[in-house]
């Protein structure tokens, strides 16, 4: 897992640099105490120091055990996670224009059919069932203010 730890430390060092640079845009002190730039500045410094320590630590010669082995998934699994996120992003993108219930139908159908290998008709059935449940529970019973969209539901 050392490679992973190294990557995370580098990301944190970048983040700390960004925090420090951004915090300089705000005043460091106010009349009696810290200004808006005080906390972000010191958080940046602390994060940078810890990340540097962690980064250096990844080069120390500790004995490798099972936990040191990379646990990041292969491209196949990452692709699967990416697809789920893509379908969810599609949900967020179209929910206002299509309406919540209709978007749920497409979301579930596409997820089950394209990603989970469920048959088309079965996926359609589950899409309808999920939409109906969402409509009944959250729109009809709880009267939540969810986007209405094309069909007005």
């Amino acid at each position: 897992m050392k490679k992973g730890d190294r990557v995370f430390s580098i990301i944190c060092m970048g983040l700390s640099l960004w925090l420090i640079l951004e915090s300089l845009k705000f005043s460091y002190l106010s009349k009696f105490g810290p200004g808006p730039g005080f906390l972000p500045f010191w958080l940046g410094i602390i994060l940078g120091l810890i990340a540097l320590f962690a980064f250096v630590n990844t080069f120390s010669g500790e004995k490798k055990d099972k936990g040191d082995e990379p646990r990041l998934p292969g491209w196949g699994s990452l692709g699967r996670v990416g697809l789920i996120m893509l379908i969810m992003a599609g949900f967020a993108l179209f929910v206002n224009s299509l309406g919540f219930v209709l978007t749920v139908f497409f979301f579930v159908t596409i997820l089950l059919f394209a990603l989970e290998g469920v048959g088309f008709l079965k996926s359609l059935f589950y899409g309808v069932m999920f939409s109906a449940c969402i409509f009944l529970i959250f729109l009809y019973w709880m009267e939540l203010d969810l986007p209405k969209g094309l069909l007005g539901i």
Binding site: G44, L47, M88, L112, M142
Partner: protein, 501 residues
């Protein structure tokens, strides 16, 4: 006597058809979601928060507490029947619970877990009253300097016990604090890190962060692994432990309760550490430690009692100090704020009806859970047989509805998705999310109290050290840093020596 009188008034508030209904629904939904592997109480409460929208604060909090307890109960079911913990506090239950299930005593394990949790929940709530009332009276003396030092100490506790690696916990905590600086700053009212995005003016909603990190992130990990769950069937008549079983674990339950409540009340320690500690102690005091890991009933009773008592203990810092000690109580704190309440010791004075109703509801919630869960365990376990490919779209949809409903805006859904990706990678890299969430809540509090303390002392930094309570809290924080550093150096040396040998 005052506390008893107030508690009775609390019961009179809770025992209305609507509030009782909310408690029952909370227990039901909490158990139902909590039973799903990986989804712990923090994610469960955040996901189900929209169910409370439109209610008054008391009914909403009654329901959220019931969800919390329900999720804790639910977590143990998967540990025993599937050998996959429902949440981290139930990990230790898999050691003996699953072995009992394999030996055909799964029902007894579930029954003992429910009974132990019930006793721990009731005793823990009594302890909560006895600790919380005097502590809240004491913390009324706290000024901004004391709160600042308390938050520093609490943050360090959370970081030091938050995960396997202290440096990762620290980085997670600092990133959480940095996220807390987004929005209008408390000092000059200047927008920070907003970049002309109007929604960022209010900061990053930590409820959305919790749903992303713990809800979406967890689902992505499980969906990626194409989780297949094989449950061990349990029949209703097998659920009742014999009197001999109960008698055998009486001390385990009581020890677990005491350990759980004490550990749960410490910021950051929480139910997971409590359950592991209880297991260790049970094994240590047992005359037959060799039975542990092979289906020892005490190995289920102790940890399960401890993690439920820790849930009661976790309310101590929340109610008496207004600071969350865990991810789940951080979400509770967020919910309190959503309902316009200011958590902290003043809550006992400004909203006593609310506080006592919530405490009374904890007793009722535990009673509902034991009556509901024992006969319904086979039903809840049936949920585990639904293939995960049909379950996870439902979880994702509930998260989306939860995020959207917070401000009726798709922006929160986007934020949740971003944190979902972070949550996935954090899980993969073993970076604990708890410190980030709690720091996100505590960060603005820390900055506000730092500013106020320095304004009151006209910029004199020594105010944090010269005020007795503040100085003591900072001294404890300093001791913690020294002890942890010393231990880390010693471990490192041992590793190097081991390598050289």
């Amino acid at each position: 006597m005052d506390a008893l009188h107030s508690l009775m008034q609390g019961f009179s508030t809770v025992i209305t058809p609507f509030n009782m209904g909310m408690a029952v629904l909370g227990c039901f939904f909490g158990t139902l979601v909590g039973i799903l592997p990986g989804l712990g109480p923090s994610a469960t409460i955040a996901m189900l928060l929209p169910l409370t929208f439109g209610m008054n604060a008391t009914s909403a909090m009654i329901m959220l507490c019931a969800i919390y307890y329900g999720a804790m109960y639910g977590g143990s079911t998967t540990s025993i029947l599937v050998n996959v913990p429902g949440e981290s506090a139930s990990v230790v239950t898999t050691f003996d619970g699953y072995q009992m299930a394999r030996q055909g005593r799964g029902g007894v394990a579930l029954g003992i877990s429910a009974i132990g949790s019930f006793i721990a929940g009731i005793l823990g709530t009594f302890a909560l009253i006895f600790v919380c009332v005097p502590l809240s009276a004491f913390t009324l003396k706290f000024g901004p300097a004391e709160y600042f030092s308390l938050i520093v100490m609490g943050m360090l506790c959370i970081v030091f016990v938050g995960g396997k690696s202290i440096s990762k916990s620290l980085m997670s905590g600092v990133i959480g604090m940095a996220l807390g600086t987004v929005g209008i700053d408390v000092v000059q009212g200047a927008p920070r890190f907003v970049y002309d995005i109007s929604q960022l003016m209010d900061g990053v909603s930590f409820i959305v962060v919790v749903m992303g990190l713990f809800g979406i992130g967890e689902v992505l990990v499980s969906a990626e692994e194409r989780m297949k769950i094989k449950t061990i069937n349990v029949k209703l008549k097998e659920l009742w432990p014999t009197l001999g079983d109960i008698w055998q674990v009486k001390w385990s339950v009581l020890r677990g309760t005491a350990i759980g409540f004490f550990i749960g009340a410490l910021p950051g320690a929480g139910a997971t550490i409590a359950s592991f500690l209880a297991y260790g102690i049970e094994k240590g005091v047992s005359k037959h430690p060799e039975r542990f890991g092979k289906g020892a009933i005490e190995g289920v009773a102790g940890p399960e009692s401890a993690n439920n008592a820790a849930s009661s203990g976790a309310f101590v810092p929340l109610l008496a100090l207004g600071i969350p000690g865990s991810g789940a109580t951080a979400v509770m704190l967020g919910a309190l704020m959503l309902y316009g309440l200011k958590p902290g010791p003043m809550l006992f004075h400004t909203n006593p009806d609310f506080v006592w109703a919530v405490i009374a509801s904890m007793f009722i919630g535990n009673i509902i859970l034991i009556f509901m869960n024992l006969p319904m365990i086979p039903f809840f376990a049936m949920g585990l047989r639904i293939p995960y490919r049909y379950l996870y779209p439902a979880i994702l949809l509930i998260c989306i509805i939860g995020a959207y409903s917070l401000s009726s805006n798709v922006y929160d859904v986007w934020v949740m998705l971003i944190f979902g990706v972070f949550g996935y990678f954090m899980k993969k890299y073993d970076i604990p999310g708890g410190p980030m969430v709690v720091a996100l809540v505590l960060g603005p509090m820390l900055e506000y109290n730092l500013y106020r303390a320095l304004a009151l002392s006209r910029g004199d930094m020594t105010t944090f050290f010269t005020r007795p309570i503040s100085g003591t809290l900072l001294a404890i924080a300093a001791i913690m840093i020294v002890v942890v550093t010393f231990k880390a150096v010693r471990m490192k040396r041992a590793l190097i020596e081991e390598k050289e040998e």
